[in-house]
């Protein structure tokens, strides 16, 4: 028993202590993904450093700051990582140093060049990053960066804090998510389509031959299964689907399953825990087993069918598709987990094993399909790892895929999404589309005038008039007829901001943007698709699809 140096199963590293509270959100594998990621921040603005702060703290692998600017007084005023003593020094260098102090596990690097310089001197520079984060870029630079990253398939997160408003734009050509962490995940029990192992197991159980004690310690899944058998005998193969039919099934569970079982000295029949559980589970456990539409969409996707690239997600998706069409008989690989239930452990474990064995059989089939696919295409065997296949199978009912749009195309675009009635939107006082257009308008102003409206104290009045012009031309460009120009208050407000980056807004946008970056890196949880607008005066946010 007592070994001299018991290797306690709970030897916990410093790292997992430090990261304990976040491991509970994205798990060890999420943390590993984070620790192997490499992000690039363009411009160490207040918003930019706030984003990096929230990535460095949870332990991102490494970051690189690209910034050709020197620290100004304004930076010292609103940026936690740049103080007055550093005014005049390279912003990239100073911010990198201070950010690295937050977490010794993180590597930091910096390049004292502007984004434009890098793009023209070294266009492949950004290809190696997991995600590129851009702040404080002009529309023109953003346009070139966006095209570059879109071509190279590197996700881009553009974050803006402008006065009391802000925005985040995600540009990702394709994002495939295995663990989407849905709120309400139904159990995968297959009572309506029992697999052979389950049938076999259930057939060995004879409720009427049990004594009361055995009966009351039987897992409720067995009761449900047996009740469903009775139902099928009487009402055909379709499981009960409406309230009335489910009531009939509940009555079968209540009064027919335990019928004839000697109740011993017990007078309180009918309140066995497992019976109560079975009755309760009628609603959730009997949902039809089928491929959910979001997963079907992935299996039917061109990428899955033609499989042009050596991409692990699509290879496994293709293998799952073949599984569904062959061994699976139309259903996805079994998840293989059971909910907790009242039962003696022996039968619970036995039942658990039935599900686990089937799940690993299914995963095995998928794994074999993967190998065939690799062989047929002459791809290396190590392109897909078996553990990934298992993970994929376990989560196959919650797969999500996002196809984004290119920001450069949005900036070139001649119209807004067709389903948006912009004139109607502009009637509403706090429409997110209004804030989106105002932010576009100040950028247009900058493109035309070389500075933001209201930036120089002397020009405010003329800037307001110019901004009005930019706004209405923008509306015209986007094909909005007679774009309501009664937005004077909002245009004045934009001028009043004078491109100020308020720290509290930067902190808020920084937190939101960092969260999106973490989603992109861990490929867990569903990121926003694709533009986020924030107005701090009313504390409102909205997500627009552009």
């Amino acid at each position: 028993m007592a070994s001299p140096s018991p290797k306690s199963p709970g030897q916990i590293s410093d790292k997992s202590k430090k990261y304990d509270r976040q491991l509970r959100l994205w798990g060890d594998h999420g943390q590993t993904a984070l620790e192997s990621a490499n992000v690039c921040l363009i411009n160490a603005t207040a918003t930019g450093t706030e984003i990096l702060k929230s990535l460095v703290l949870p332990g991102i692998g490494s970051f690189t700051i690209v910034d050709g600017a020197l620290v100004t007084g304004e930076d010292a005023g609103n940026n936690f990582f740049l103080d007055h003593s550093k005014i005049g020094k390279p912003r990239a260098h100073v911010a990198t140093q201070l950010l690295m102090e937050l977490n010794s596990d993180v590597k930091g690097d910096y390049i004292e060049e502007t984004c434009d310089q890098l793009l023209s001197n070294n266009p492949d520079f950004f290809c190696s990053f997991s995600v590129v984060i851009a702040t404080g870029l002009t529309e023109k630079s953003l346009h070139s960066l966006s095209s570059n990253l879109w071509q190279n398939n590197v996700p881009l997160v553009v974050s803006v804090s402008y006065g009391f408003t802000g925005s985040i734009r995600l540009q990702v050509s394709e994002l495939c998510i295995i663990e989407s962490h849905p709120d309400n995940l139904l159990e995968d029990l297959r009572l309506d389509k029992p697999f052979p192992g389950l049938k076999e197991f259930m057939d060995t159980i004879k409720l009427p031959e049990m004594n009361h004690k055995q009966f009351s310690h039987t897992p409720y899944l067995v009761l449900l299964y047996k009740a469903l058998e009775i139902w099928n005998d009487r009402h055909g193969p379709n499981p009960p689907s409406n309230y009335k039919e489910k009531e009939i099934l509940r009555n079968i569970i209540k009064s027919e399953l335990g019928y004839g079982i000697v109740k011993e000295e017990d007078s309180n029949s009918g309140d066995e825990e497992n019976v109560a559980e079975a009755i309760k589970a009628v609603n959730t456990a009997l949902t039809k087993t089928q491929v959910p539409s979001n997963v079907q969409k992935i299996l039917n996707d061109d990428q899955c069918i033609r499989l042009k690239e050596k991409n692990s997600f699509w290879i496994i998706a293709r293998a799952v598709k073949e599984f569904v069409e062959k061994e699976g008989n139309g259903v996805l690989p079994l998840r293989g987990s059971l909910p907790d239930m009242t039962s003696d452990s022996q039968r619970y474990i036995a039942l658990q094993n039935v599900y686990r064995e089937q799940a690993s059989k299914d995963a095995e089939h998928v794994w074999r399909h993967v190998q065939t696919i690799l062989k047929e295409r002459g791809w290396a065997g190590e392109s897909v790892i078996e553990n990934d296949v298992k993970l994929f199978c376990r989560h196959s009912s919650e797969l999500r895929m996002i196809r984004g749009s290119c920001l450069a195309e949005e900036l070139d675009g001649k119209q807004l999404p067709p389903d948006v009635d912009i004139n109607q939107q502009l009637e509403e006082p706090d429409s997110p589309w209004l804030h989106y257009l105002l932010l576009r308008a100040v950028n247009k102003f900058h493109t035309e005038n070389g500075s933001f409206p209201g930036y120089y104290d002397d020009n405010v009045e003329t800037d307001i008039a110019k901004l009005k012009g930019c706004f209405s031309r923008l509306l015209n460009d986007l094909g909005c007829q007679g774009g309501s120009l009664s937005k004077d208050d909002n245009l004045h407000e934009m001028c009043r901001y004078g491109a100020a980056e308020l720290h509290a807004v930067a902190a808020f946008i920084g937190g939101c943007a960092a969260q999106e970056v973490i989603k992109l890196i861990t490929k867990q949880y569903v990121p926003l698709d694709n533009t986020f607008i924030f107005n701090s005066v009313t504390s409102t946010t909205a997500t627009l699809r552009l």
Binding site: S54, T72, A76, H492, R496, G498, T538
Partner: protein, 659 residues
């Protein structure tokens, strides 16, 4: 951090129009003052304001930074906590070398590092201490809560109401968060919607009939305290022969006679007994996982409908390879019984050694979720008990979450929430109270495609037991069993969050039940409430001079309460239907009203407490279905009483402060 900045940011920078100091941003913004807000006025009120930040944890660190960088320059931060390694993934004002030091002090140092021109006062102290009285609170323009527990939140809420200072309340849990503004007379207060209480379990469920992992985990923590910690008679771990469900059981009557009157089988204290054998693991194991279990089996009434437990034998520990998740590492996997025994043996060895090294003053260990041996002990013992009772076992990682009431926490959520707090502060300073919002942060866009969901502030609950003009609550308890001590500790302090209560019985004689003057009512403490002629319908006048809070309590005498609770607090007496506390004397503002409680938002509001009790509720949420039936059954014993009473009472769940 920026300790390196020794160059003073001089006041000249402030006046420098191009410096970019927040002052500049606001004056820039203020230039068009006629357009919208009056930001130059705002800038002025920011600089003149004095802010109290309660809590220097996840939200507190972000908030301090935001305040200083938004131009606030007079801040007092208070926190009684010290820095732990697990804080470092988000509380960025702290670094490894600060572990063990005061959060408030280090947060101040770090914040001053980046702006030495602001005044920050740090207090390493509990905000509930008496020196922080109403006068203290009155000096602040706005109070901002960045707390992690309900008692302190409730207390600060009362102090701000009494001092009439605006309060911004906030909390985060994982990806969720919320911010709200509270002002006396203008909004709801923190206690307007009684929060669902932390889950607690009847003693006999823990000691006799566990049915869920959490029951075994609570038991294992109690076992830790019995063996090494501060012994608490409420935390007994041996079979409870007074279990009402087993009562009337012929077999156990005989056994009961052998038992001590407290219903415990042990005759010496568990700790003394363990010391006799020098914490011999095989002896401890034998008692807790074999002998006690055999004893429970003898109470056969308990097992007619439950799966009976299976005693374990020290010489025959099942090796049971249940490791399906082969790839999983360290604390993520579920230990086999043999691994549990191994961990139990090694942790007991460490803990016993530690307890031997204690000197007289502190003669016991304190359980800590971040201490490895403590955590190993609870993981091992809870899983062994789960094994005995055929309950699913949990990984060390999960046990830690449940035993330590851990809720996940990340930097991003705190950053977002701290930003939102500052926006609410801006509105308060501008006097735009009507623009303040109650803001929720969701983990994903809601039905309206919004991650942030703002809603107007609700008006105060006219029957709130804290902020209404004549606060009232009704307490259901057993007057002959509840001692004055328990009444003070559990009801007044525990549930109602008072800190120095005075209580007078409203019997025309002015009988003083509890006095906050030390020693004045010591002799009352061990007596029961009925000894003071407190009976069904008696009213008690309670006062907390520190919180400047008066509360009338109506007692309703109940022999038994549901779920074997000791007492139930009902915030809105009109919820007692139909006999709405009729026996109570004195003014009863609520009886005339037949309207339902004005607000039921408690149901939708996420319970949010960083590092606090949320996981409990989340963890239990799924299991509730399993738990309910057993609990319902647990009350069968008192059926005659409870059944009828509960029908009459028909309590709305939102108005019960569960305990």
């Amino acid at each position: 951090m920026k300790h390196s900045n020794k160059n003073k940011r001089t006041s000249e920078i402030r006046s420098n129009a191009t410096s970019g100091h927040p002052a500049r941003q606001f004056s820039k913004l203020g230039k068009m003052a006629d357009v919208n807000v009056a930001p130059s006025l705002l800038d002025d009120s920011i600089r003149k304001s004095k802010i109290l930040v309660v809590g220097a944890g996840g939200i507190g660190c972000e908030l301090l930074k935001n305040l200083v960088l938004s131009g606030f320059n007079d801040i007092l931060v208070i926190d009684l906590d010290t820095i732990d390694v697990s804080n470092l993934n988000r509380q960025f004002l702290f670094q490894k070398e600060h572990v063990g030091k005061s959060k408030a002090v280090i947060a101040r140092e770090s914040a001053l590092g980046f702006n030495p021109n602001v005044t920050i006062v740090a207090k390493h102290d509990s905000v509930m201490n008496s020196e922080y009285n109403v006068t203290f609170f009155k000096q602040f323009t706005v109070v901002m809560n960045a707390l992690d527990n309900r008692a302190a939140r409730s207390h600060v809420n009362r102090m701000c109401l009494a001092a009439n200072v605006p309060l911004i309340e906030s909390g985060t849990a994982g990806y969720l968060g919320q911010v709200t503004a509270i002002r006396k007379g203008l909004s709801e207060c923190y206690d307007c919607n009684p929060k669902a209480g932390q889950k607690s379990f009847p003693g006999c469920t823990i000691r006799n009939t566990p049915s869920e992992p959490i029951h075994c985990i609570v038991w294992a923590k109690h076992l830790f305290n019995q063996l090494f910690g501060e012994a608490d008679p409420d935390e007994d771990v041996s079979p409870d022969t007074a279990d009402p469900e087993a009562a009337g059981d012929a077999g156990s009557v005989a056994l009961q006679n052998q038992a001590s009157e407290a219903g415990n089988v042990t005759r010496v204290s568990t700790r003394a007994w363990a010391q006799q054998s020098e914490y011999d693991p095989s002896k401890l194991f034998g008692k807790f996982f074999c002998d006690d279990i055999k004893y429970l089996l003898s109470m056969d009434k308990l097992w007619t409908k439950r799966t009976p437990p299976t005693p374990l034998s020290w010489d025959n520990i099942p090796e049971e390879i249940s490791d399906q998740q082969g790839g999983l590492i360290k604390d993520q996997k579920v230990w086999s019984p043999a691994e549990c025994v191994q961990a139990m043996v090694s942790s007991i060895k460490i803990l016993y050694q530690r307890s031997k090294e204690l000197n007289g003053e502190e003669s016991f260990l304190v359980w800590d979720k971040d201490d490895e041996a403590s955590m190993d002990f609870v993981t091992a013992c809870s899983n062994l008990r789960s094994h005995v009772f055929s309950i699913p076992k949990k990984s060390r990682f999960d046990v830690k979450a449940m035993a330590g009431n851990i809720i996940p926490a990340i930097a991003t959520t705190n950053a977002v929430i701290a930003g939102l707090i500052v926006f609410e502060a801006f509105k308060i300073l501008e006097g735009k109270w009507e623009e303040c919002r109650h803001v929720y942060l969701n983990s994903k866009p809601n039905a309206l495609n919004k991650v942030i969901a703002p809603s107007s502030l609700d008006s105060a609950n006219p029957k709130c037991y804290v902020c209404s003009p004549h606060p009232e609550v009704t307490v259901l308890l057993n007057v002959s069993q509840m001692t004055v001590q328990s009444f003070e500790d559990k009801v007044l302090r525990g549930a109602l969050h008072m800190i120095s209560p005075d209580v007078m019985v409203d019997d025309g004689k002015g009988t003083v039940l509890i006095s906050s003057e030390e020693g004045e009512t010591t002799e009352n403490m061990s007596k029961s409430l009925s000894d003071f002629n407190i009976s069904d319908g008696t009213r008690l006048r309670c006062e907390d001079f520190h919180q400047e809070y008066d509360l009338n309590i109506t007692i309703i005498d109940r022999e038994h309460l549901e779920e074997n609770r000791e007492f139930t607090v009902i915030a809105d007496p009109s919820q007692l239907q139909p006999k709405a506390a009729v026996e109570s004397s004195g003014p009863q503002p609520s009886t005339s009203s037949s309207k339902p409680a004005p607000s039921t938002r408690a149901t939708e509001s996420v319970e949010i407490d960083e590092d606090l009790d949320v996981i409990f509720q989340k963890g239990c949420a799924n299991d509730d279905h399993q738990q309910e039936p057993s609990i319902r059954k647990r009350s069968i014993s008192g059926q005659a009483d409870i059944g009828s009473a509960s029908k009459k009472l028909r309590l709305s769940e939102n108005d019960i402060i569960e305990l």
